[in-house]
């Protein structure tokens, strides 16, 4: 033993491998590689490109939502008209571009903080920033000026518009969270009124995609 190590001195000892071990290693690596490469097929589980995109021409006019027991229930699906909002506090659950749930409210402009109303109206996206249920206006809390989400009792103050930040860093204005678990304000939707029809301005559509 000592003779051998004396002879090897100065040379770097190299790991040796006989032919059998070499074949075993190569075969094992080949099988492992094949199995690993099959994992790439899991890519097919990811959403396909282009899925869920809007198709065709999209109308920006709000349409009345499907809530039961509200004053606009029998108008469900119709376009939202300015003349329907004849008194302060009247508001409706609506749909924007056929996919974004929102709430349009006639507000007392002297009490509104942080934003200005358009023809007395203001609109917020009504998808709750907490877990994506749809908040309502005065269906559950008829006497209060709040957007209320039934799922986890989230409350947004429609008269108190504040600046907030989305997880991706986008700054926006929205109705302040005053109670419950929502982490962020309900984003405002800019409004314009043409020919008596109320529509949203699609300046920053990505903002409303926070629920996928």
């Amino acid at each position: 033993m000592s003779e051998k190590s004396a002879g090897d001195r100065g040379k770097k000892k190299r790991p040796t491998m006989n032919r059998r071990q070499f074949v075993q290693t190569v075969v094992a690596a080949g099988i492992a590689g094949t199995i690993l490469s099959f994992l790439s097929l899991l890519m097919s589980l990811l959403p396909s490109a282009g899925a869920g995109e809007e198709q065709g021409e999209v109308n920006n006019v709000f349409t009345y939502g499907p809530e039961k027991g509200a004053w606009y229930s029998d108008k469900s699906g119709n376009e939202v008209l300015l003349e329907d909002f004849d008194q302060v506090g009247k508001g409706a659950g609506v749909l924007w571009r056929g996919r974004i749930p929102a709430i349009v409210i006639r507000v007392d402009e002297s009490k509104l903080r942080g934003a200005t109303a358009t023809n007395g109206l203001i609109a917020f996206a009504s998808t709750c920033t907490h877990l994506c249920c749809i908040a309502t206006w005065r269906l559950d809390r008829p006497s209060e000026d709040v957007l209320f989400c039934r799922c986890h009792d989230g409350v947004f103050d429609a008269y108190n518009v504040v600046k907030d930040v989305m997880p991706d860093g986008t700054e926006y204005l929205g109705a302040k969270v005053v109670a419950g678990p929502p982490p962020r304000a309900a984003p405002i939707i800019p409004i314009e009124v043409k020919d008596g029809k109320v529509s949203g301005v699609p300046d920053n559509l990505e903002l409303y995609g926070y629920c996928g």
Partner: protein, 454 residues
């Protein structure tokens, strides 16, 4: 009868001559008899082990119900159509096919009722089985793998029922699933990728239904068969866990590996299998009655633009629902406003804390064999462990109560704020009140018996 048994014998001989199955069958009989409890206890006189220990039935009932779910599920799969394509609020193929099952398929309503109640009772039986095992610490007597498989099966049962709840594509299922998906998305860093890979998107869509259906009828079924098979095979290898009072008095046991051998009760067939068959038939009777007279019809078709007035998950998920609400209540009470992100990740908002607590509970259960080491398994000799289990039961029950805050508030006409305060305090106080005396009594007993032994 004689003719039949002669025929059977001839059939058996015919097979045996060709495939030589006799040794296999003899070995199987030997193993199963070997698996029975061997210790002498006060129940030995009856020769039927189960009579003295009814909680041993929970596992058997769970297995029976799982088989029943398989059979009824198979029958439902002949008629159900997993398609959710359609306008929001309009009935989809999935919704219509469930209605078709309820109204037109002969015995369809009964089959669906049995499937629905079977799922509920299965989770209940499984919960009893699991909590009892949690008290007993089987991982301390060489049953670590059984325990881990059991925890995995518990998770599997919950995923199973979650995927099934969505299939009718009605409002209740849709919104319960929406909330669960959004909670899943709240998992720090990986949330969105998990949701996209498992559900085909970050929000519910027809794609999600296709995947849920595949999981429910195919993928999970394969996983279930493998896990249940392994869980049962280990019982045959190691023997049925013996009653606690017999533990350590048994001379025929290796306390390291948990293997046992020795005098048997009556043989497996018929002595031990008979009570299992009887209890299974009783369970079947209960499920049939419930399925026939208390079947829940689907609500309105799912509408992604309209959250229904009352939404609630199934009763066995209420604790998680309550946990989310309760963490929010604690934040409100402490006037704590969670920062948007910590190191760029949302870590402290109520929903993330909720999901982290629930996830941690599951991981702790899985890791119990590593965390809780030692050889003492007697419940009364382990003050801290037993106290923690009692506290956990209290915590889960009171969270379940908290989840019902709105319903309770409108039922008892108490303002929601007051109700939340009362329930929030109950969640903190009641589990502690239940656990504290347990700890004190057991602690005193432990010191007493320790000094006696000394």
């Amino acid at each position: 009868m004689k003719v039949l048994s002669t025929r059977m014998k001839r059939l058996y001989d015919w097979i045996d001559k060709r495939y030589n199955i006799s040794p296999l069958i003899a070995e199987a009989q030997r193993s199963i008899n070997f698996a029975l409890p061997s210790t002498l206890t006060r129940q030995n006189r009856s020769r039927i082990f189960w009579l003295g220990y009814p909680y041993y039935y929970a596992g058997a009932i769970t297995l029976f119900l799982a088989i029943l779910q398989g059979i009824t599920g198979l029958l439902l799969a002949f008629h159900y159509v997993p398609s959710a394509v359609g306008d929001p609020g309009a009935p989809t193929q999935a919704y219509l096919s469930v209605q078709y099952i309820m109204k037109s398929v002969p015995l369809g309503a009964l089959i669906r009722g049995v499937h629905q109640w079977g799922a509920n009772l299965l989770v209940a039986a499984l919960a009893i089985h699991a909590f009892w095992a949690f008290f007993r610490s089987p991982y301390r007597i060489g049953r670590e793998i059984s325990w881990v498989l059991g925890v995995a099966l518990l998770g599997l049962a919950l995923v199973y029922s979650f995927s099934g709840y969505l299939l009718p594509w009605d409002q209740l299922g849709y919104w319960a699933a929406t909330i669960s998906v959004q909670i899943m998305r709240a998992i720090p860093i990986f949330g969105d990728s998990i949701a996209q890979t498992l559900l085909g998107g970050t929000a519910l869509s027809p794609v999600t239904l296709t995947r849920m259906y595949f999981y429910h009828v195919s993928l999970l079924a394969v996983v279930a068969v493998v896990l249940v098979g392994a869980h049962l095979a280990l019982v045959v290898f190691q023997g049925v866990s013996e009653p606690e009072e017999a533990w350590k008095t048994s001379v025929n046991r290796d306390t390291q590996t948990g293997r046992q051998e020795g005098p048997l009760f009556g043989p497996f067939i018929p002595h031990q299998i008979a009570p299992v068959v009887i209890i299974s038939l009783v369970t079947l009777g209960i499920v049939l009655l419930l399925g026939a007279f208390a079947v829940q019809v689907p609500g309105d078709p799912a509408n992604k633009f309209l959250t229904p007035q009352f939404i609630a998950p199934e009763w066995y998920f209420l604790w998680a629902y309550g946990l989310l609400k309760w963490v929010g209540w604690v934040y409100d009470l402490a006037r704590f406003v969670p920062p948007a992100t910590v190191f760029g990740v949302d870590l402290v908002s109520a929903k993330v804390v909720g999901i982290l607590i629930a996830g941690a509970m599951f991981i702790v259960l899985l890791l119990m064999p590593v965390i809780d080491r030692g050889t003492e398994v007697r419940t009364l000799r382990r003050p801290l462990k037993t106290t923690i289990v009692v506290w956990a039961i209290g915590f889960l029950s009171t969270l379940t109560l908290y989840a019902l805050n709105e319903i309770l508030s409108s039922m008892l006409s108490i303002p929601i704020g007051t109700m939340n305060m009362a329930l929030g305090l109950i969640v903190i106080v009641v589990p502690l009140l239940a656990a504290a005396p347990v700890y004190m009594i057991l602690r005193r007993n432990a010191t007493k018996s320790a000094s006696q032994e000394a």
